[in-house]
């Protein structure tokens, strides 16, 4: 199995899941001299127009993306980053995957609990259900002293 074009949507949670996903994507892509596409989507509330200028969010997103770019470049992997502004993140990731014609979507996720239960999250669920290509989910290891 070969994955020359890999989409890595970032969650921006800063928990290390994003970084590990990029590292794994680089490793998979480099083998076939492929390229990774790193995207981060800003969700825009309905109370604002879709093209609203979101200063702090954009700044944060740009930082997340430049950090991601560094991680990929340090591994000598071809990388392209993209910042999206959207109402719903799941569909935006799927659109991006289709547009780029990627072979794989690779997502990192933490071990999250919501209402005391493990929760995959809406975005991951949406991507798993709707992705046209293969999806690889890299979950963080369980932390025993996890509080929420």
């Amino acid at each position: 199995m070969k994955f020359p074009k890999i989409l890595v949507p970032l969650s921006g949670d800063g928990a290390g899941a994003d970084k590990e996903a990029i590292e794994l994507a680089c490793w998979l892509a480099k083998e076939v001299k492929g390229k990774i596409y790193v995207v981060y989507a800003i969700q825009v509330k309905r109370s604002l127009p879709l093209d609203a200028e979101l200063e702090p969010e954009t700044e944060m997103a740009e930082k997340i993306l430049s950090d991601a770019e560094e991680v990929a470049q340090a591994r000598d992997c071809a990388v392209e980053t993209d910042l999206l502004q959207t109402r719903e993140i799941g569909p935006a990731i799927i659109d991006e995957a289709m547009e780029r014609g990627v072979d794989l979507i690779l997502m990192g996720t933490g071990y999250r609990k919501r209402f005391g239960q493990f929760d995959l999250g809406e975005v991951v669920r949406y991507v798993l259900r709707n992705a046209p290509c293969r999806v690889l989910l890299l979950r963080q290891p369980l932390v025993t002293d996890e509080k929420q």
Binding site: K45, R46, S47, L48, P49, R87, P91, A92
Partner: protein
């Protein structure tokens, strides 16, 4: 314009589709998850699952920046409340309610819902009773584009009865969007024949509305 459509049934769906194609920002609020998914599949991320009568839902929908709210659920009372909440809580400048029971038109007017559209309303009843008479119901006026969305009832005496869409001399800039026969809705094709009692949704330029009215509804 930012337009909120409460109710993702058939009318809500077709209305949203028409509004989107005219370049408006549209949000549909619908309770039923299945309907929400169907609309999102067809029209993209323009839906919110929730009760459009609830203040909290309307707040999340950004109702305070909406230019127009159209309530088209199947229940008149839900449309009334959605419109009243939008008007009084969020100061939405224009609101339109669908009414299924024509008797509610007077009530809605009295309660400040300026425009009602009625799917079962026998518009012909109004002819001659009121001036101006309305074989044509204005659904929306799209000010910047000088276009409007209207519903026209094809009367028995209309010159369009029995004609194919392609043979009807529509004024330039007018477009038939939907043909509604009883509960049946279809997109008009070139060969679709119009019958008496059909209702037609059309977009037209405001200044040629009279001409469109003449060819569809008769004088």
């Amino acid at each position: 314009m930012y337009i909120i459509v409460v109710g993702g049934g058939r009318l809500g769906y077709y209305l949203s589709k028409a509004l989107l194609s005219q370049g408006h920002e549209v949000l549909v609020i619908e309770k039923d998850t299945v309907k929400v998914e169907r609309i999102e599949e067809e029209l993209g991320s323009i839906c919110m699952q929730g009760d459009g009568c609830e203040t909290a839902v309307l707040e999340e929908a950004g109702t305070e920046r909406a230019d127009l709210l159209v309530a088209v659920t199947d229940e008149d009372e839900d449309n009334l409340v959605a419109c009243q909440v939008a008007k009084h809580k969020f100061n939405v400048p224009r609101i339109i309610a669908r009414i299924s029971n024509p008797k509610n038109e007077a009530l809605f007017k009295k309660l400040g819902i300026d425009v009602t559209i009625s799917s079962t309303n026998l518009i012909l009843e109004y002819i001659g009773q009121e001036v101006p008479a309305y074989p044509v119901v204005h659904l929306l006026e799209l000010r910047k584009t000088k276009l409007e969305l209207i519903e026209v009832k094809i009367s028995a005496g209309s010159p369009a009865v029995g004609k194919k869409v392609k043979d009807i001399p529509l004024p330039p800039g007018s477009l038939l969007i939907l043909v509604i026969k009883d509960e049946d809705i279809k997109l008009p094709a070139q060969d679709t024949v119009l019958h008496a009692d059909d209702r037609v949704l059309a977009v037209t330029k405001i200044d040629t509305e009279q001409d469109l009215r003449a060819v569809l509804a008769g004088s």
